[in-house]
């Protein structure tokens, strides 16, 4: 099989005018903004708990996690994923189409991208007119679990 024929589907969304994508297989569903219950003392990127038809999902603000400065607080959509059996909803500004992209357009993340974002990114797709940043949900899961471990240790100390 040649490299050109490898195709993957991505569920895309927009945050602070940038286009991001998550492998469509990892996305459980996309919903509109739902009422949230704030979790006091939780990390800043945990925006709250959402009732997803009886399941409780933890809302994570990707902009906060990526340390993207944004004046507007206009996350209105939830991208619901299951990370290592934890149900999370990524809060994003706007939902894009599901794009089928070819492997040949894939690039690694250029070094100039800020580390705070780069650590969660798999790579970049060059699509006509714009660039699509592919998010590595594994890395996000790893990061939040590490932070939780750290916090547990701190609270025990």
């Amino acid at each position: 099989m040649s490299k050109d024929n490898l195709r993957s589907q991505y569920s895309t969304f927009i945050m602070a005018d940038n286009l991001y994508g998550i492998d469509v297989m990892q996305v459980q569903e996309i919903t509109k903004a739902l009422p949230m219950t704030r979790v006091p003392l939780a990390p800043k990127y945990v925006k709250g708990l959402i009732n997803l038809r009886g399941q409780i999902s933890t809302a994570i603000c990707l902009k906060e996690l990526f340390q993207i400065e944004s004046k507007r607080n206009d996350e209105v959509m939830n991208v619901v994923c299951r990370l290592n059996d934890i149900l999370v909803s990524f809060l994003v500004d706007k939902i894009g189409d599901v794009l089928e992209l070819e492997e040949k357009d894939f690039e690694h993340v250029p070094d100039t991208v800020p580390r705070s974002i780069k650590q969660f990114v798999k790579g970049v797709y060059k699509i006509p007119g714009k660039l699509l940043t592919v998010i590595d949900t594994e890395k996000i899961a790893q990061r939040i679990q590490e932070e939780s471990k750290q916090a547990t240790m701190n609270s025990n100390a």
Binding site: L41, R53, A151
Partner: protein, 933 residues
């Protein structure tokens, strides 16, 4: 054929374990002398089943052992004999061998090994069996060795069909004694099973032998899923019900009602599938105790009560280890060796009781022993030695606090470390494990008499009753089990307010200082508030420590479905989970222990565990004379009070609930009619002039009980509860129904004699029945006569000196009765419980007391025990004893009379009391009769 089939083997093991347990139980019952022939038959059947299935799976060793055991029991069963002790012991031994073999199967999927033991055991069994049948020795011996040999060979593989078929044939050639023939018939039937086993049909037959009831095994995971889905259905149902309230559509109304009913049914039924009798856990203790007793050279009987009480399977699993620990503890540390027990004057057999019962949505499991109990002195010494507490701390500790020391990490009182216990870990783990499932643990002990550990556990983990509160606009839920009470502090109300100690808010709650923590502060580190005004406080019990949580708003109570927080938020120890409320919003569940820890409150320093105990405990802590009063407003400008010990409940009824029976206002209350009496009218106060204001939407009702009947007392407002330790001053008593006044916080409070008022009212209505024309006025007159009568009686009694010993724990009654008796010229000495009274009685000189009055329900030693103890001492046999109590059922009276009380009467009825005393003391009976006429 089946070794590859893991699930099948798993089935075999779980069935084997079931059989194992059942056989053990039967053997135990037989040992205790049960003559039930069904026991032996079931034992026999079980062995037979085990043999069949073992052969099916190719476990020849198990099959062999089962066969020999079966064969040994057969003649006994057939001839209806009782099992000999020797054979019995062999049966136990072989059962243990079964256990080992089963474990082996579980671990290695084969039952190889233990060949020698099996051989020895079979020989022993046959020996024991033949020994019991001396008359048939030869035949039996032959047959048994014969059969044993047959099963012993390696060729007895289930796959070797020919060999198996040959077995019954060979057996049939054994010389014919009745016993043997019958057995052979059965044997042949059994051994056919493995032959056809390849077609798997007989498996059913074998199983059906074992399971007479129609049951199927289901994976627990499946039930868990089902439970979760039901949980969600319940939430959807709640949402539909809320939606329905907003829309007045008749069809929707009907449909949602149906949905409601069906969902509730479904929920209860599915809950039932997860419920298992507690016997699944506790019956195993028979074996544990038996083994331990052997190992420790003690004699211990275990009694199980309420083993059929059902609990959620998850909880059952969770309490298994803690309970095993407690049982082992009792056996090892609690119950003494027979020699020690004998010298302590106890029966040589120690007794362990495990009791399970339902109480208010919880299951309570009590493990009590009659061993030596906890020694507070030893505990303190140990705790000081281990630096767990300081010497000063130890001085101020209550016994209960001392007992709870054993729950501290690193504490063990056993002198020697034994293989059973004593390594200093355990009780703290027991406590944490019980608390983890939302339970509480409580400990009671009497030195030399034994101790009782009570575990209070919720029925199910999945659905918990909770209190919903709001803070910072967010909903939070607090499990009800942690809840003690709700307090509202209002700035205008000078009765109680928040005080500050080094900047930290504190609340005085009925004489106790309660540390307050603010939920806003806990959930927001930058938050600080220096002054509180009107405040809602939730009083919580954090592992025994009482704390007050300041919240913005108290919303409601609800049954919530607990869902865990995401794994990466688990480190937030303030929260124990989340739940979805009826309106679909998510509420976070607060973890009371976690909050206490966040506020640096030490939850290890346990005071009292059961919130229900905290009141009783508090009462003891307070001074001897402290009394609690319910402050009420009756529409006059003077605050009135009712002794709290008389108050059953405080209720609010809406005007809609009020109905009339004749002219009497009533409310339907707990399946009976509750008459509503206006205190203002009872006391004959005139209604204030400005009472033209609209009647209130809800009426505040104080429910009191008299002679087993409830009465609702309507008051204008319920104000507060205070603790006052001053005397009731009865110099000013301007009307009937007033006991006197007390001064509290520089204000005069009028104490209402509610029971007399009720009696007056009742007499009044009786009078009305007899004589339609009589007026309320006349009742009042007659009551005045009553008072006069009492006074005249008193004068008569003064002629003979009556010296009364009176035991009563409630200060109010103590004072009241004392006043009545003193008024009649008696000498009264009071004690706050039976133990103290008894001690005083023992020290008294001859004829110091010539009458004993006692309450029934008292701490330390209750009235019944007190009476028994008094009657035990022959020299006090002549002193009449009167029980003064509010318990007035016939069974209570019988119990009282049995314990040695001369008579039994109701508290707070001065006239009757004096009459009774006079009667018993032979005082001027003539006068009283005259007075009655």
């Amino acid at each position: 054929m089946s070794n590859s089939n893991d699930t099948a083997i798993q089935e075999f093991i779980s069935e084997g374990n079931e059989i194992f347990q059942r056989v053990f139980d039967s053997l135990q019952a037989l040992e205790k002398g049960s003559k039930d022939p069904e026991l032996l038959s079931s034992l026999y059947r079980d062995m037979h089943t085990l043999k069949g299935t073992a052969q099916l799976f190719g476990f020849q060793n198990i099959a062999k052992l089962a066969h020999v055991l079966e064969a040994s029991l057969d003649p006994i069963r057939k001839n209806n004999l009782s099992i000999s002790p020797r054979l019995h012991e062999c049966c136990f031994a072989s059962l243990y061998l079964f256990g080992k073999l089963l474990t082996n199967v579980q671990n290695t999927k084969s039952d190889h090994g233990f060949t020698d033991e099996i051989l020895r055991m079979t020989t022993l069994l046959i020996d024991a069996a033949t020994h019991q049948f001396e008359g048939e020795i030869t035949i039996e011996n032959e047959s048994f060795t014969g059969s044993e040999r047959k099963i012993d060979f390696e060729k007895l593989k289930p796959t070797a069909e020919v060999e198996l078929k040959s077995e019954p044939r060979k057996l049939k050639t054994v010389p014919e004694a009745n016993v043997i023939n019958l057995k052979n018939d059965l044997l042949s039937a059994a051994s056919v099973a493995p032959v056809i086993a390849a077609e798997s049909a007989p498996v059913q037959e074998v199983l059906s032998l074992n399971a007479p009831e129609a049951t199927i095994r289901v994976q627990v995971g499946l039930l868990d899923n089902l439970m979760n889905i039901i949980g969600e259905l319940v939430l959807v149902r709640n949402q539909v019900l809320q939606f329905k309230n907003k829309h007045e559509d008749a069809e929707l109304l009907g449909l949602s009602k149906n949905l409601d009913v069906v969902t509730t049914q479904l929920q209860t039924e599915v809950m039932k599938t997860r419920m298992q009798p507690i016997s699944n856990v506790v019956s195993k203790f028979q074996r544990v105790v038996r083994d331990l007793a052997k190992e420790l050279n003690k004699q211990i009987d275990l009694t199980l009560e309420g083993a059929e009480t059902e609990l959620d399977k998850t909880i059952l699993e969770a309490i298994k280890d803690p309970m095993t620990h407690l049982v082992r503890n009792s056996c090892d540390h609690g119950i003494e060796t027979p020699a020690q027990r004998k010298s302590a004057g106890k029966p040589e057999n120690g007794h362990l009781l495990i009791r399970a019962f339902h109480e208010g949505g919880y299951v309570i499991v009590e493990i009590s022993d009659d061993g030596k109990g906890l020694d507070p002195k030893k505990l303190i010494a140990k705790a000081i030695e281990k630096n767990l507490i300081s010497t000063e701390q130890s001085l101020s500790m209550q016994d209960k606090e001392v007992y709870n020391l054993i729950f501290m990490p690193g504490f063990s009182t056993a002198q020697n470390v034994t293989s059973v216990s004593g390594r200093g870990v355990g009780m703290d783990v027991v406590k944490t494990n019980i608390e983890k499932i939302g339970g509480t643990i409580d400990l009671n002990s009497t030195l030399g008499k034994g101790m009782t550990v009570g575990i209070k556990i919720p029925l199910t983990l999945a659905i918990v009753p909770a209190l919903l509160i709001k803070t910072n606009g967010e909903n939070y839920a607090i499990p009800q089990v942690k809840l003690v009470e709700l307090v509202r502090v209002e700035i205008d109300n000078h009765q109680s307010s928040i005080e500050y100690l080094h900047g930290k808010p504190m609340l005085r709650l009925r004489g106790d200082l309660v540390a307050l923590i603010d939920l806003r502060e806990l959930t927001n580190k930058n938050f600080s508030q220096s002054k509180y005004e009107d405040t809602n406080i939730v009083i919580l019990n954090a592992g025994g420590e009482i704390l007050g949580l300041i919240v913005d708003e108290i919303s409601d109570t609800a049954d919530i479905v607990v869902k865990p927080l995401s794994a990466f938020l688990k480190y937030l120890t303030l929260f124990s989970g989340a739940t979805i409320l009826g309106d679909g919003t998510v509420a976070i569940i607060l973890d009371v222990i976690g909050m206490a820890m966040a506020a640096n409150i030490n939850t290890q320093r346990t005071k009292e565990i059961d919130p229900s105990l905290s009141l009783a405990d508090g009462a003891v802590k307070k001074s001897f004379d402290a009394q609690e009063f319910l402050l009420i407003d009756v529409g006059t400008n003077v605050t009135h009070a009712i002794p709290l010990c008389l108050v059953q409940r405080l209720e609010e009824f809406s005007l809609k609930q009020l109905e009339f029976s004749g002219k009497q206002k009533v409310v339907r209350y707990r399946d009976q009619l509750l008459p509503i009496l206006d205190l203002c009218e009872l006391l004959n106060y005139s209604k204030p002039e400005n009472s033209k204001e609209q009647p209130k939407e809800v009426e505040s009702i104080v429910v009191v009980q008299r002679s087993g009947k409830f009465f609702g007392i309507k008051v204008t407002e319920i104000l507060d509860i205070i603790t006052a330790d001053c005397d009731i001053d009865d110099t000013v008593c301007d009307r009937v129904g007033i006991l006197g006044n007390i001064v509290h916080d520089q204000t005069v409070i009028v104490i209402v004699d509610i029971l007399s008022l009720l009696e007056l009212k009742q007499h009044g209505t009786n009078g009305l029945k007899k004589n339609q024309t009589s007026q309320v006025q006349s009742t009042q007159l007659s009551s005045k006569n009553n008072i006069e009568r009492i006074k005249s009686m008193s004068v008569d009694m003064k002629s003979k000196k009556v010296r009364v010993l009176y035991a009563e724990d409630v200060a109010f009654f103590r004072k009241h009765v004392m006043k009545v008796l003193n008024g009649a010229g008696f000498e009264v000495t009071v004690f706050e419980n039976g133990a103290k009274a008894l001690a005083a009685l023992d020290k008294s000189y001859d004829n110091q007391f010539n009458l004993i009055l006692s309450d029934i329900e008292m701490p330390e030693m209750d009235g019944l025990e007190f009476a028994k103890q008094v009657r035990k001492r022959n020299k006090f046999n002549d002193i009449p004893m009167i029980a003064l109590t509010t318990r007035f059922k016939q069974s209570d009276i019988d119990a009282g009379v049995k314990a040695g009380f001369t008579s039994y009467m109701e508290k707070l009825d001065p006239e009757k009391l004096l009459k009774q005393v006079a009667e018993i003391m032979n005082l001027n009976l003539e006068d009283i009769r005259r007075a009655e006429a």
